[in-house]
């Protein structure tokens, strides 16, 4: 782990350098004061490096600009202040996904761009809900990608839940219809539907999602109860386009962000919370079924601000 010191820390506005500077700027002073321009610049750049995007980073800076703080704050204290400011933005959208549908089953449609972590998140979610004694069933709605069905099947077996599968290349909407029917028959609590990854600028594929939605509604007008958009933490500002278009075309009701176990900090969530206010349900911090965590705004804000990583690594 020693030779993989993040390059950000070594080279540029990373938290390390930023913090050292902040430290220099702030030590030795004693009464309350506003943060000076240099400090604010450093904060803003550190936030940009966490993927908040230039305009959201500037807004967080403005929020801090007017406030007065103790003088002589050390590095950690300044980071905490930044974290608190971010947590304020994130707190209102921290809303867990709850199983409340009546009549059952609660249908959860999982969507997102290619490779964002949909299938793995479904496995994690199924595991979590099973542990809470809900009956879960999966639908292998990705009939497009090679071996996508087999992938979900492996997870279903590991978690120990039933799965509805069709043929590769088959009609996804038809299969989903089948799934809801079966799920209702056997009285399962939750039905989680996997879908093929798609980029939001492909109209044809987005129409297909709309169709899946319609088909779901035919059996139960309330379904899908949740439309969960899975975002990859390594994604930059395009995540905002993803949310906007998936929301419009597929009626996204909540977000999950994956891959927060790397060095990506997922700062785009801050911009997303401000702009869309969609619930953020959970985060993914690894590749196993235990690696799903509820979205804790404090914890994520502190990771974004560089106070503490979301997942400690043992080197």
């Amino acid at each position: 782990m020693n030779d993989t010191v993040p390059w950000r820390d070594r080279l540029l506005g990373g938290f390390k350098r930023t913090s050292e500077k902040l430290g220099e700027n702030l030590t030795g002073l004693f009464t309350k004061a506003t943060l000076d321009a240099d400090t604010l610049d450093e904060i803003e750049e550190a936030l940009i490096a966490s993927d908040l995007g230039p305009s959201t980073a500037a807004r967080v800076r403005e929020r801090l600009e007017g406030e007065r703080f103790e003088r002589g704050l050390d590095v950690m204290a300044v980071r905490e202040i930044v974290a608190q400011e971010i947590a304020k933005i994130l707190a209102p959208v921290a809303i867990p996904l709850e199983v409340i549908a009546f009549p059952r089953p609660q249908v959860i449609l999982v969507i997102g761009v290619n490779g964002s972590g949909k299938t793995t998140t479904i496995a994690k979610l199924a595991h979590l809900l099973t542990e809470q004694d809900y009956q879960v069933m999966l639908v292998a709605g990705d009939t497009f990608r090679a071996a996508a069905i087999g992938q979900l099947k492996v997870w279903a077996d590991r978690v120990g839940v039933p799965i509805i599968m069709g043929k590769e290349g088959g009609d996804a909407a038809g299969l989903v219809f089948e799934g809801v029917k079966k799920g209702t028959e056997i009285g399962t609590d939750v039905l989680i539907v996997d879908t093929a990854g798609r980029l939001q600028n492909k109209a044809g594929l987005m129409d297909e999602l709309a169709k899946i939605r319609r088909v779901l509604g035919r059996l139960n007008p309330e379904a899908p109860h949740n439309v969960v958009l899975v975002l990859d933490a390594t994604t930059g500002q395009n995540a905002l386009n993803q949310i906007e278009i998936f929301k419009e075309m597929a009626g996204v009701t909540g977000l999950v962000m994956t891959k927060l176990d790397g060095t990506a900090r997922g700062g785009v969530l801050v911009a997303a919370a401000e702009k869309f206010g969609l619930p953020i349900h959970a985060i993914g911090i690894g590749e196993t079924i235990d690696d799903l965590r509820p979205f804790d705004p404090q914890e994520v804000a502190r990771a974004i601000a560089g106070v503490a990583p979301l997942k400690e690594r043992t080197a």
Binding site: T4, E45, G115, L199, G236, M249, K259, G262
Partner: protein, 498 residues
């Protein structure tokens, strides 16, 4: 959300028009805008910094050419510097070694390694006439090895038989053995996705590289990647000797700043761009296109190509004949609308065209969206075949029926009719200006959404095209006539929600 750099710089340089040389103060002011543009495009902060420094140096003191504005001049300098930094031109794979030449694919989870492995194999088989063997070393992701096997059968390229439970380094040895014995020219090793901070998996990757001695080690990166690109590039290039980069999902609408970050940090050429999920979606990387995209200047080249692809020749010819007769009915209008949808709807168009700030704003404010196209199509569907060929038949009573049938209002129907009327008028003007000879030009070159509607208007060069009444459609300040880079289809504004 994004403004193009030219628009940003317009403001900075307005007061500067007509001066001779770019002063340091002017350039610095401009560079602040360039910085924001690059950050919005996801170029990593340290890369932005060094880029700005070097471009500032180049730009200060530069003479502003008579024919351009200072803003355009700076855009050009920035654009050229970007192209330069992205690498002059496409660079091919170097497989000139004693066979089998090994290509190892590495990268984060879900970046597109497996798909790209198959795409490259297909390319080498078809164009390079190479005998290729693919092997998956991904023992982590469920069904990953099956995924590659399925892709192999799709493109008729051999894959190494799967042995359950075998570990990556051993699979690599077996693959090498098989490739040698069976006389393969190229061996492609698809590896599991790994985080650059996962030391155990990084060690595994190094071990595979030691065994396989790859001629090419390609880092596969998602074009949607944000600031983390530098960390990824840095760690991977420290631990294996990369020979190149593949940037996937360039078919998306990301600005693709990661390309610049990757180049800057690794110093390795970007060899390919992934442009689709299908296995023919692989193209040599083209720096100038990507530079334009990063700057928000619109990927005009791609747009024109896509337009050419999705516009069916026969349709275009049929339309040309009708135009020559001065006929343009509802069926034609519908054809045009469907064409727009085929091209990815308004969203895709808007993201690729230069100068689409107004449309973006309209879309963001909810005034225009892809549903507009669907709604218009629904209205035409509710007309009888007769009404479609002779829209003037539509009296009040019929309009009510059509509105009901399509779940819209009579007002909507009227708007559509008005739009059709204006388009028909535009047609007549085009005919006067040279008729079907101009059709080729209409289908692309001039670009613009006007051009996309089957080219009605694009070729008008902004001159004869009925301009959108500004304000009327809730699209503030649409550039008027002249060399305006963008025109709404005539009457299209009437469809925007108020």
């Amino acid at each position: 959300m994004f403004e193009s750099l030219s628009e940003r710089l317009g403001g900075v340089f307005d007061r500067l028009r007509g001066r001779g040389a770019l002063s340091e103060a002017d350039v610095r002011a401009a560079m602040r805008e360039v910085r924001v543009a690059l950050l919005e495009a996801d170029v990593a902060l340290p890369v932005v910094r060094s880029f700005i420094d070097s471009v500032t140096e180049q730009a200060v003191g530069g003479q502003v050419l008579k024919s351009v504005t200072p803003g355009q001049q700076v855009v050009k300098i920035v654009h050229d510097a970007l192209v330069n930094m992205l690498g002059a031109d496409a660079s091919e794979l170097e497989l000139d070694v004693t066979p089998p030449a090994v290509i190892m694919m590495v990268g984060l989870q879900g970046s597109g390694k497996t798909t790209t492995t198959a795409k490259i194999a297909k390319r080498l088989t078809e164009r390079g006439r190479k005998k290729v063997l693919m092997a998956s070393l991904d023992v982590n992701r469920p069904a990953a090895q099956e995924q590659l096997a399925v892709l192999g059968t799709q493109i008729d390229v051999a894959t190494l038989p799967i042995v359950q439970g075998q570990q990556p380094v051993d699979i690599a040895r077996r693959a090498l053995q098989a490739a040698k014995l069976q006389g393969y020219d190229v061996l492609m090793l698809d590896t599991a996705g790994r985080l650059h901070v996962d030391q155990a998996l990084m060690e595994e990757m190094k071990a595979v590289a030691t065994v396989a001695q790859p001629a090419e080690t390609l880092l596969v990166v998602d074009a949607l990647t944000g600031q983390d690109a530098v960390n990824v590039a840095q760690s991977f290039s420290e631990q294996v000797s990369l020979t190149g980069i593949v940037l996937t999902r360039m078919d998306g609408d990301a600005r693709g700043g990661a390309a610049l970050s990757m180049r800057a940090v690794t110093g390795k050429p970007i060899k390919f761009a992934g442009t689709g999920e299908k296995l023919d979606g692989l193209e040599p990387f083209q720096p100038s296109r990507v530079a334009g995209r990063i700057l928000g200047m619109g990927d005009v080249v791609s747009l024109v190509e896509r337009a050419a692809e999705s516009i069916k020749i026969e349709d275009a010819e049929a339309l040309a004949r009708k135009m020559a007769k001065g006929l343009f009915d509802m069926n034609d209008l519908r054809g045009q609308l469907q064409q727009m949808q085929r091209m990815g709807g308004l969203g895709a168009l808007a993201s690729m065209l230069p100068g689409v700030k107004q449309v973006k704003q309209a879309m963001a404010s909810g005034a225009a969206d892809d549903k507009v196209l669907v709604r218009m199509d629904a209205i035409i569907s509710s007309m009888t075949p007769k009404e479609r060929t002779k829209p003037e038949l539509l009296n009040a009573k019929r309009k009510i029926r059509v509105a009901k049938g399509s779940g819209t209002t009579v007002q909507d129907v009227n708007k559509l009719l008005k739009m059709h009327q204006e388009m028909a008028n535009a047609m007549k003007k085009i005919r006067k200006m040279g008729g079907i000879k101009g059709l080729g030009a209409l289908l692309g070159a001039k670009g613009g959404l006007g051009g996309m509607l089957g080219g009605l208007g694009g070729g008008m060069g902004g001159g004869g095209m009925p301009q959108m009444p500004s304000g009327g459609g809730g699209l503030p300040g649409l550039p008027g006539g002249g060399n305006a880079p963008f025109n709404m289809p005539p009457g299209f504004d009437k469809f925007l929600k108020k």
